[in-house]
């Protein structure tokens, strides 16, 4: 009997060891990483197979590049490995000058126009995706930690409403697929829970890197709705809510997705 109790205790000990850290075990959310095939997972895990690392490497060069007569990102921010650690985790964040929430790519462009005094980079350009990937990569492994600025409460709430709003000719909301049917199939692909912890992401379907907004536009045209313009208020507010929804999940940038 004593032996029995001892083995139960040992088993409980083992369970505790497997489920640590405790918070993770209670969290039922699953990153898109968990539902993709082992071969694509291997591709993401290995930095030499992960094509997203090509963009990260591009970003590292741009970080140190002096633009025109101006100065480089590194001139003010120093070594990104130190200064940018955890920064991407809190975006989108409130910008007190513009008085609106801005995402990471908008922040990079604001830095260019305000401080470096150079033209903003176009959305989805190789340079902007490179810089954004490089900055976000510095937070890899850290939890998504949305900004707690009180100005963001209202926009985030509007983002949630958009998430729940039926739209498009198919009259679908994000909730119907990503909250109610994740894990089921849609035309042969697994419906993910729609977490935003790996952006910018290398998608095999795109054969390239893309931002969260590019992904959102895919979904919007999928339900046959008209996507709002790049970096419009609606898009950033939706990003804000999505970051809150993925809060605490580990950042995977650059993630690889099928």
């Amino acid at each position: 009997m004593r032996f029995g109790i001892a083995s139960i205790a040992a088993a409980l000990g083992l369970l505790a060891a497997f489920s640590s850290p405790g918070q993770q075990a209670a969290d039922k959310r699953r990153s898109g990483f968990d539902t993709m095939s082992p071969r694509v997972q291997a591709m993401q895990r290995d930095d030499l197979q992960n094509p997203g690392m090509l963009w990260v490497a591009d970003g590292e060069v741009l970080w140190k590049k002096v633009f025109g007569i101006s100065f480089s990102c590194a001139h003010c921010h120093g070594d990104a490995k130190q200064s940018m650690k955890g920064v991407a985790a809190k975006y989108p964040d409130w910008d007190p000058i513009e008085k609106r929430p801005v995402n990471l790519s908008q922040r990079i462009n604001l830095c260019r126009t305000r401080h470096q005094l150079v033209l903003p980079l176009p959305p989805e350009s190789v340079e902007l995706l490179g810089l954004e990937s490089y900055v976000a990569h510095q937070s890899r492994g850290m939890p998504v930690a949305p900004s707690t600025a009180k100005e963001l409460i209202e926009p985030r709430e509007r983002g949630r409403k958009q998430y729940e709003q039926r739209i498009g000719q198919l009259n679908l909301s994000c909730v119907q697929c990503h909250d109610q049917l994740p894990g089921k199939s849609l035309a042969g692909s697994t419906i993910p829970e729609g977490h935003v912890n790996g952006y910018p992401t290398y998608r095999l379907e795109w054969q390239g890197m893309g931002s969260l907004q590019r992904r959102l536009r895919n979904c919007l045209s999928g339900v046959r709705a008209e996507p709002p313009p790049w970096n419009s208020r609606e898009m950033v507010e939706l990003e804000l809510y999505l970051a809150q929804r993925s809060a605490g999940m580990k950042i995977e940038t650059p993630a690889v997705r099928p």
């Binding site: 930095d47 030499l48 197979q49 690392m53 090509l54 490497a57 591009d58 054969q207 390239g208």
Partner: protein
Amino acid sequence: MARTLIHAPTTARKGEVIEIRTLIAHPMETGYRAGSDGRTLPRDIIRRFTCRYNDEVVFSADLYPAISANPYLAFNVVANASGTLSFSWEGDNGFAQTESAILTVA
């Protein structure tokens, strides 16, 4: 210049089988897709990859339009002498790139 990521060990024992992994940024445009204006995009692919070990070809591959963008190639080589591994990619529109790595065999 396209960006490349090459993983090759810098040291090896004589006779050891070493793994070499390469990744290069390239669109690998098939020549079958239509662009936003409806016209067919001209083909732009890497056609050949060659790895030379002290100027001797130890691995080569022909690439075709069905190969994905940013092609990743991994292969094994027997380390038998110290020297240089050179990697070259050649393709459409005069694309040519060569990278190299030094290998020391103890």
